[in-house]
Symmetry: D2
């Protein structure tokens, strides 16, 4: 916001009153007593009308334009009959990093469903740093995923990596994942939106909230019926976790922007030993669900084995969540 002061305003008094509302301000001086306060982004979310009511404030201007379709998103949605978002029980999405065989999926689907997962995850198409690493089994894996999910009454979430195969993904997926590496890939965002499927939109490695919302607009503008945002860690400088989990962004989305948001602790952390405390923390911050890599035998995983939980660890995690999670009230 830009707050324009009345000519005779007592600047320190106005700034104090705004501080009282939780607003950080920077003063701009103009000619003939024109003075504005720029409200910094890390201020509490406050309605312009409230600010306008402060003594000495002449007018309040708001940033324009806003992301129009994100602004209209509901705070909860239903996907394949499963409610996600504000006031809902946290949803668990679980499964292997990569789909490796029909048998693997069948066994894992049974296990994660028994532990309370509602979505089966698994990559048919895998984005990897090097082209010489395992790239996923492709379309055949999609069928296995659907079959295993159906047998255990799970919904399917799986990643689309390419405009060419996004339709095939949409055929089986209840929720199409757009990965971190493709958050800025507008062609894929549009193609995914055009399938008419809901989108799980992971945050880019160094994306601002504004850019994340811009990516969502690409999907929504082409027809995506719903967006579930997913925080999976951003690039950090410390090497003791794989990425840098940003739970404040989760709280912002859940409580201030009031859109559905989940957390992928597997990629954010990379390490199994931090999963229990940080999945609890994610839910406490407001996450509406978790996307977790689970493998029946992490030592045989074709990708990301070190960060996969085994089914028993996942069961323990799910138990802890079920007992801890009470839906959080709106904070403003």
């Amino acid at each position: 916001m830009i707050v324009t002061l009345a000519r005779d305003a007592d600047v320190p008094a106005v700034r104090a009153a705004l501080a009282g509302l939780g607003l950080w301000t920077v003063l701009y001086d103009g000619p003939e007593g024109t003075r504005h306060l720029l409200v910094l982004d890390h201020s509490r979310a406050v309605d312009p009308e409230t600010v306008h009511g402060v003594d000495g404030v002449a007018s309040v201007s708001a940033r324009s334009p806003r992301p129009p379709r994100v602004d209209l998103l509901p705070c909860r949605v239903e996907i394949a009959g499963i409610p996600i978002g504000h006031g809902c029980r946290p949803v668990l999405m679980a499964g292997p990093c990569s789909v490796e065989s029909r048998e693997q999926l069948e066994s894992l689907a049974a296990r994660v469903a028994a532990s309370g997962a509602r979505f089966l995850r698994g990559g048919a198409f895998k984005p990897r740093t090097s082209p010489y690493e395992f790239q996923g089994l492709g379309e055949q894996a999609l069928g296995w995923l659907r079959d295993a999910a159906d047998r255990h009454d799970l919904a399917v979430v799986t990643e689309a990596l390419s405009e060419e195969t996004v339709a095939a993904v949409a055929d089986v997926a209840d929720l199409i994942q757009i990965g971190s590496r493709n958050m800025h890939n507008s062609a894929l965002l549009r193609a995914a939106g055009a399938t008419g499927r809901p989108i799980l939109l992971k945050r880019g490695m160094a994306a601002t909230i504004e850019e994340w919302f811009g990516a969502a607009e690409y999907c929504l503008e082409r027809g995506a019926p719903a967006i579930i945002f997913c925080e999976r860690g951003i690039r950090g400088f410390d090497r003791e976790t794989r990425n840098l989990l940003d739970l404040a962004s989760v709280a912002l989305l859940a409580h201030v922007h009031r859109v559905p948001v989940i957390v992928d602790p597997s990629h954010a952390l990379g390490r199994r030993d931090l999963m229990p405390p940080l999945t609890r923390a994610a839910l406490a911050a407001g996450a509406h669900g978790l996307l977790v890599e689970v493998h029946d035998a992490p030592e045989r995983a074709r990708s990301d084995g070190p960060q996969a939980l085994c089914p028993a660890e996942f069961a323990a995690l799910a138990d802890g969540i079920a007992s801890a999670a009470a839906p959080v009230e709106r904070i403003r």
Copy 2:
């Protein structure tokens, strides 16, 4: 860790076994079949002996030296009779950013004590970006702090900014705070350690865990009897929070390194509206306490008013914590 493979080891099999243990590895090839695996830092914490037991492993080497005194820190301490750390109830430290008057302190001490705080915080010496901003009331504020705390059975935590005044701070403080801006200030770390008081050591703005522990060693080597680490947000690129709260570092300290660690959500976030969810998240991640800015009239605060809670907000926060927080079990 560096894992040296036996000459006849099946490399993919060893790497798979280590992945099964939660370890990410990079292969190094040497002459005549010498092969090593470097275990990346974002791997699960696993004992060298366990790794040594894997088939095909010839030997395991660990990084040397370790931070010797940090490695010996107990997982819980008692400061002014108040237990902090593993298995203890979360400790609340609360009070104004700056000490502004004897009356302010007296009133706030009463309020935060009534809400369950055990420590009174308040700055007598304030580190500011510009020398033309309010720098604190100095030594007279220290006396007020001690008096108000004593009247309400609170311990005192306050920041030392200078070698010259650290002794005066030590005279009144039960816990000497070293701020983010001084985490790399070895002269002050030593001087603070030499007072014999416990230290609350905030993480530097861009400090790695290793550097944070290095700073603790400076205090410990000079005689500090205890260190409470404090995460207060690191520098980030997104402007919607004041800093970037890194709760994975909190989980690492609490659950892997097993040292006392608290969170300062006020500086990490800068915004009042995110405080409730993220203080819950901090405790879920493993934080042993919170350092919170509380002001009786944030609109009159001489510094950081926008991020201060009023006493009623703090009371609500404290209530939420009391009901939610059950001590977390060790995770490995």
Copy 3:
């Protein structure tokens, strides 16, 4: 590198000798006197044999695998008859952010060619943060680009945004640009590589050198005959430039990895006033060329006008470069 020490080695002496070679090392201690030194990545590039020659060194292991096709890239290439890389005159690529009309292109092509540019740049497909911003004129713009370039004896570099249109881009482009936002988009990297055209590969916003090389491997593995790397700034925390120009990465690519690399100062800086000193700095660091946004009337530009140079500014820049730039010798 991992350096394994002889049993009787004098550890400080070996570390000193390696420091003398420019190597930073961390010690790892194992059982029965096994000791290794891990050489940190920010060490001088030194051959393993040289290290092996140091007294007390038993063996030296190198990271495996290396990016195989990047490792074989020549240090200079010829694209449309224009030599780029080690020992060549810096190549200038210039033109508008977006192609806006046939007339604009014709006029700009004439101007930048007269100033010494060898490539005409211009976006037919534009990646934007919001779908409601101008997205480029699409395929018709490609034809105008080719025509204008041909009339002025320029080569064409233009961005491919989508698997669907990459073939159309390849039809007119001598060099296909993959933008920052798509550096991790493996489907597009492969599709671009498969066209058989050389690729201008911009670095992702938070990409490590290793990830940048991984992206190049995706193109090379599908048949790209050449890669020109392009540094365009990474995400930073200071707001006074649009991105954070990383010239050390340019020096690394030019002098240590010895691959062709250019700099896009327009996106790195966002501000016209820093372009003269930092284009000189880029070339001094080793850049083999520059990709510069030039617009005949920046105030009418449909995108990125604030960072575009007008033709006269570009002419001055080009003049300065011609007089300053003598090819730099190999540094090791």
Copy 4:
């Protein structure tokens, strides 16, 4: 800047005109046709009057307050008779990381003076990550430094680490270095300023330009007669250089803020092989000098040996600079 638009202004036309001036703007909409444009920080530096002259602009407000004493700094200063800054020959400051013996200093002073250095550097007090690393020889080293410098007609620059010893440092130093780790240490900044000596102020690891200037104000307000800013790399995520050299900040200080600024390539890079191209780049970006670690026998250095140049390498570097460096014209 905040640009207030006239009621009847054509918003796109004003924004276009500002883009033409090199300004990035964000629109804020208020009640009854109030509209403002916030000019983003990464815009070209343009005078408010110029902006005010644009059709449709009602008024222009500038950020208040500015760093008052930094704003008055001259663009060139003389220290110990040596001119530094705009229009001056680049000044070379060279010497060992740590002062290790009288003999070492004597020999190095002779070598670097012969190569054209004007300042002898060398640490008597060393800031280290761990207290168990070599901390410098302290006060005796200061005398050696002064003696060696005097014998070879060099000025002395050396770091002050502590309020207690800053006076001793001031006794021998022509220029007191405040290191990266202490840029936010206001007590030391004041104490250093109060000695009346000029200050070499290194940028903090994650400091914004604004914070850097704030630190300078602390010194200036207490009486420092001059500030030489020094960029030494900020914290980055890629490990192939020790820190992330930010040459755009150097260009900003040299060409936009017009204050003396030098570069420390040794700490920024950590690696000797990148020093030649990046010292040339630093000077091309506008740096008024270089602070370089030189050691007669890097393999015997007690700190930072891997990044030290030997005297012959420094001589070659200095030669290259002497031939390349012509003072750069003002860019606006």
